[in-house]
């Protein structure tokens, strides 16, 4: 059977599956409800503007937090390490910001949040593996937990601010939006740690610094899912 025949059969089946006629009253009711609440709206800012807002948020929170805690990390980094780490962070943040922007509008393009998380969660360990040495696991936890806490302390407010920007659009799937915002927030936490933390052991940086991105993304996803569930539960209560 040729594709054209499948096409023809599908077209015939679709032709026969016509819905019943719409009640004129239903159409009028919709029209009247919408018209009764009609007022001019200002279109959402273009994607580049929203993306820039997310990037500024990322950079501002990371830089402010690192400046407050002390720029000890960037001081001990070699020139080539700085040249590779910070542009990579900016590129990953750009991807996460684009993922956030695409969640703000229906039909804004292919989803990018999973790609942003995968690129960050796999790319940075690979980069740090290339740049740093030291896989001694002594004091791994005691040295790492403060970094994780500091990173999450930056990531959580960044995530909340990103959610406020997201709310200016029309988010249909908060789980995906939460994942995107969580990844961006986690990258802000990672950037802050790279600026602040002077511990350059590869195992520490890979586990605890990159861990902030993973934790933050997971927290964003969980929060977004909870928001979606809450919204649906409200709808169910009304239906019951």
């Amino acid at each position: 059977m040729k594709p054209e025949e499948v096409d023809r059969i599908l077209a015939q089946a679709a032709h026969r599956a016509a819905p019943p006629d719409i009640s004129r009253r239903v159409i009028e009711r919709v029209e009247n409800v919408l018209v009764s609440d009609l007022r001019p709206v200002r279109p959402l800012a273009p994607p580049w503007a929203s993306g820039t807002a997310f990037l500024i948020l990322f950079a501002a929170v990371a830089a402010a937090a690192a400046a407050a805690l002390g720029l000890h990390g960037v001081a001990v980094l070699a020139g080539e390490q700085r040249a590779l780490i910070f542009p990579s962070l900016l590129l990953a943040a750009l991807l996460a910001a684009a993922a956030c922007v695409r969640q703000m509008r229906p039909a804004a393009g292919a989803s990018l949040e999973t790609m942003a998380l995968v690129v960050s969660a796999l790319g940075f360990p690979a980069l740090f593996w290339l740049l740093f040495r030291g896989y001694d696991t002594g004091n791994l936890v005691s040295e790492g937990v403060p970094c994780l806490i500091a990173g999450m302390s930056v990531a959580i407010p960044t995530g909340i601010l990103a959610a406020l920007v997201l709310r200016r659009g029309f988010v249909m799937d908060w789980s995906r939006a939460g994942l995107a915002a969580g990844t961006l927030a986690g990258l802000a936490g990672l950037a802050m740690l790279e600026l602040h933390c002077p511990n350059l052991k590869a195992i520490h940086v890979i586990v605890w610094h990159v861990g902030v991105v993973v934790f933050s993304a997971a927290l964003g996803l969980a929060t977004g899912s909870a928001a979606d569930r809450l919204r649906r539960r409200k709808a169910i209560r009304r239906a019951i």
Partner: protein
């Protein structure tokens, strides 16, 4: 919660029977509950998708953003049949098709500031419709878990079934496909959208849509060849 009340007779065009005031309830989420009387004049739903010139839809949508009442009414009249058809061909959403169409309009109303002038309107609208359908499916599943049937339900009008030996039913064909492929086939073949428009509406890439459509066609070819073989035997 916001309660809307409209005097229907004020808006009834000549020839339409005036009816009592109708009420709709819109909450903070924009979810909308209507009391849908089914009697009265009807708008025909075309059996083939009405591809209103895209530019016209874009102009109407821009008018909607600028609170042009006439543009809103025209847009609703032009797009509603397509929305109803979109929900109607999905077996899981068929019995709620009219309600879902209304709820989609409520969401479009809340999301209208996110439409960008110059971009295609249909994918934007169908992306919202798609999420409305998904939300409804999940909601219905949870409500049905909590419901207890206390009486025998009256028989409702079933979907028109045109099942003949040579002409398979759309439900039967779509039932053979996984949900993601079914969605792509519905948008391509029932809503009459292009690959790029489907990609926008489903937040995926054109390549992914092509792949899903290809797999769906392969599956449908197998199914239809099997049917043909069975008939010949």
């Amino acid at each position: 919660m916001k309660v809307f009340s409209c005097r229907r007779d004020l808006f009834s065009p000549e020839g339409f029977a005036p009816v009592a005031s109708a009420a709709g309830i819109m909450d903070s989420d924009g979810l909308f509950a209507l009391l849908p009387p089914r009697e009265g004049p009807v708008m025909p739903v075309r059996s083939t998708p009405d591809r209103t010139p895209l530019l016209e839809l874009e102009l109407l949508m821009s008018g909607y953003q600028q609170a042009d009442e006439e543009a809103v009414r025209t847009l609703i009249e032009k797009v509603s049949p397509l929305l109803l058809r979109y929900f109607w061909v999905q077996a899981a959403n068929r019995r709620f098709a009219e309600d879902l169409m209304q709820e989609t309009w409520m969401r479009i109303h809340r999301a209208r500031h996110t439409y960008r002038r110059g971009e295609p309107v249909l994918p934007w609208i169908l992306a919202i419709a798609r999420h409305t359908g998904v939300d409804n499916y999940r909601k219905v599943r949870r409500v049905e878990v909590r419901e207890t049937q206390v009486d025998i339900l009256p028989e409702t009008a079933a979907a028109a079934q045109h099942f003949t030996r040579d002409a398979p039913d759309l439900d039967m064909l779509l039932a053979e496909l996984p949900p993601s492929q079914r969605e792509v086939i519905v948008m391509l073949k029932v809503s009459g959208m292009s690959i790029d428009e489907v990609a926008r509406a489903t937040s995926s890439s054109a390549g992914s849509v092509k792949q899903k459509a290809h797999r769906a066609y392969t599956k449908l070819r197998e199914v239809l060849s099997g049917r043909g073989g069975a008939h010949e035997a």
